[in-house]
């Protein structure tokens, strides 16, 4: 394992520390317990939005703390959900009296810890609503699984819910928008390589030189199916095919296309993937009116990509376009 780290035990605190200095104009970090919060929090009368989960997915979530998006992010250890304490602390730090929304990716650990935190915060008189994100079509949603995972679609939920909160929507409305985005976004990913969790020191799985993992998660867990390497276009056809099968589009409907790198993928490859995805959507009569290409929900240094499609309407489009100022997403100011 070769990494630019010091003691593996300090990876998260050192990274969060550096992040807070680099972006001191928009955030500050608390280190005990660890969370990142907007420097102007709490904002009186504004619904606070808190997300979090295991580290290793950067810029998710701390990179999305700032005007028009999250009020706080709670990074757990690498690939392990945070405990309730920092979630409660972050929730209190952003409560401006209008209540707090928890945006939680659907993993047992994240759900259970955010649940406990919500109970504790509620016990302290803070109104908390929770929205679970589960956009990963690689997992069959059935009684026989823990349900679909929350992956790259989370970024879209956070941006759009953040815009709603920023314009003054109340807690119920912000939660409703977040739920709406989650219900209209689907994602599927592929990995070319595994990643190494610092404290584990070994890859979470191994792929032969000609193998790729279809339906990869974002915690270094293996995917759904292992196949031989294919040209980028056929891989895109697989991923996007699964997405569109799960959420069909009528011709003329509008979409936001997110091509998300898993952390170690060169940008040229992301745009080669984007090119084919846009081509396929066009063939199906889907109008891509918004696009996002880059590393937004990653698995450390993993090489791979996920494709997310969000079915837009005028409300979602205008909330997407609303100004945002975070470390990883910024426009309009």
């Amino acid at each position: 394992m070769k990494k630019l780290i010091n003691d593996p035990k300090n990876v998260v605190t050192e990274a969060v520390g550096g992040f807070a200095i680099a972006h001191s104009d928009i955030v500050r970090a608390e280190l005990d317990p660890v969370y990142v919060v907007r420097s102007d929090a709490p904002r009186a009368g504004k619904v606070g939005i808190v997300s979090g989960g295991g580290s290793g997915h950067e810029p998710l979530h701390a990179g999305f703390v700032g005007y028009g998006m999250l009020d706080a992010a709670v990074p757990g250890p690498v690939f392990t959900s945070p405990t309730p304490d920092p979630i409660v602390a972050a929730t209190k730090a952003v409560d401006g009296g209008a209540g707090v929304l928890h945006i939680v990716k659907n993993y047992t650990g994240d759900v259970l810890n955010f649940e406990t935190a919500a109970d504790l915060a509620a016990a302290d008189g803070i109104e908390v609503a929770s929205v679970i994100v589960d956009d990963d079509v690689a997992v069959k949603d059935s009684l026989y699984t823990a349900g679909r995972r929350g992956v790259a679609g989370t970024v879209l939920v956070e941006k759009i819910a953040g815009a709603a909160a920023e314009r003054g929507d109340d807690l119920a409305a912000v939660a409703a928008i977040a739920t709406k985005v989650n219900s209209r976004v689907r994602t599927m990913g592929v990995a070319l390589t595994a990643c190494v969790v610092p404290h584990a020191g070994e890859p979470s799985f191994t792929l032969a030189d000609d193998e790729i993992e279809i339906g990869i998660g974002i915690h270094g867990e293996p995917g759904r199916e292992r196949i031989k390497l294919e040209p980028a276009d056929s891989i895109v056809d697989r991923l996007l095919g699964a997405v569109l099968e799960d959420m069909p589009f009528a011709a003329g409907e509008e979409a936001l296309l997110l091509v998300n790198g898993m952390g170690g993928t060169p940008q040229v490859e992301l745009y080669i993937v984007y090119r084919r995805a846009a081509e396929v959507l066009a063939e199906r009569g889907v109008t891509v009116t918004r696009s996002l290409v880059g590393n937004f929900t990653t698995s450390l240094e993993m090489q791979g990509v996920s494709i997310s499609v969000l079915k837009l309407d005028d409300e979602l489009t205008s909330l997407w376009d609303a100004p945002v100022h975070t470390a990883a997403l910024r426009w309009g100011r």
Binding site: T80, L112, N113, L143, Y144, V197, G217, P222, R224
Partner: protein, 217 residues
């Protein structure tokens, strides 16, 4: 004094658990890497080291229930992941079950084990055969119940529980998972032991071993 177990046993159990989890840290990471995300050993080790530290802060008057309670809150606030809230709830329910009792006889132990198992089910909604820690806990509870009914000593109750938990953990290997990360793998989870069931078996074995040591003393 084999007829009941006191706070000394409870403290010794947590100490022994911290040791055995440290020894099995890499083994549990490896199991979790195969069908999860490779952190279970790290999480459990972190949590029980923290719990160990809290024991000293307890007054000498602390009851077994007090020990379980501080372990519960410490695990909840240090383990994270799925295991943190689940083990935390288990110890919390166990502490409520034994109340303020100074010493635990066989029936009390059975109550504690049952409450712990029920707590995990309450939070995690897993059923037997879902390839989770429940597959270690439920056989353990059943075996402990039977042993106690047959008049076994606390140590023998724990021995029955530990034996059953180990068999239960082993029995998760052929299963497809229906809860937790392993459920994402479908058929590919077959042939791998569930890490949480394994750590549960290790904890119960530690409980039996320190009880035996106490019994022989």
């Amino acid at each position: 004094m084999g007829a009941s177990l006191g706070a000394d046993w409870a403290r010794a159990w947590i100490t022994a658990s911290a040791e055995v989890l440290a020894e099995n840290r890499v083994a549990l990471i490896t199991l979790d890497r195969e069908i999860g995300d490779g952190d279970h050993g790290e999480n459990m080790d972190r949590g029980f080291q923290a719990a160990l530290g809290k024991l000293d802060e307890l007054p000498d008057s602390a009851t077994p229930g007090d020990v379980f309670k501080v372990v519960a809150t410490t695990l909840i606030s240090t383990v994270g992941g799925a295991a943190g809230p689940l083990y935390g709830t288990a110890f919390l329910k166990a502490s409520l079950a034994v109340g303020a009792a100074e010493r635990l006889d066989a029936p009390a132990l059975v109550l504690a084990l049952t409450a712990a198992r029920d707590g995990v089910v309450l939070r995690g909604k897993a059923e037997s055969g879902d390839k989770t820690m429940i597959d270690a806990w439920t056989p353990a509870v059943d075996a402990a119940t039977a042993a106690a009914a047959a008049g076994a000593s606390p140590y023998e109750v724990l021995q029955a529980a530990a034996d059953a938990a180990e068999r239960g953990a082993e029995a998760t290997e052929p299963l497809v998972a229906r809860k937790g990360r392993a459920s994402y793998l479908g058929e590919r989870a077959i042939g791998h032991r569930d890490p949480g069931a394994q750590s549960s078996a290790l904890l119960l074995r530690a409980a039996e071993q320190v009880a035996r040591a106490g019994a022989e003393a």
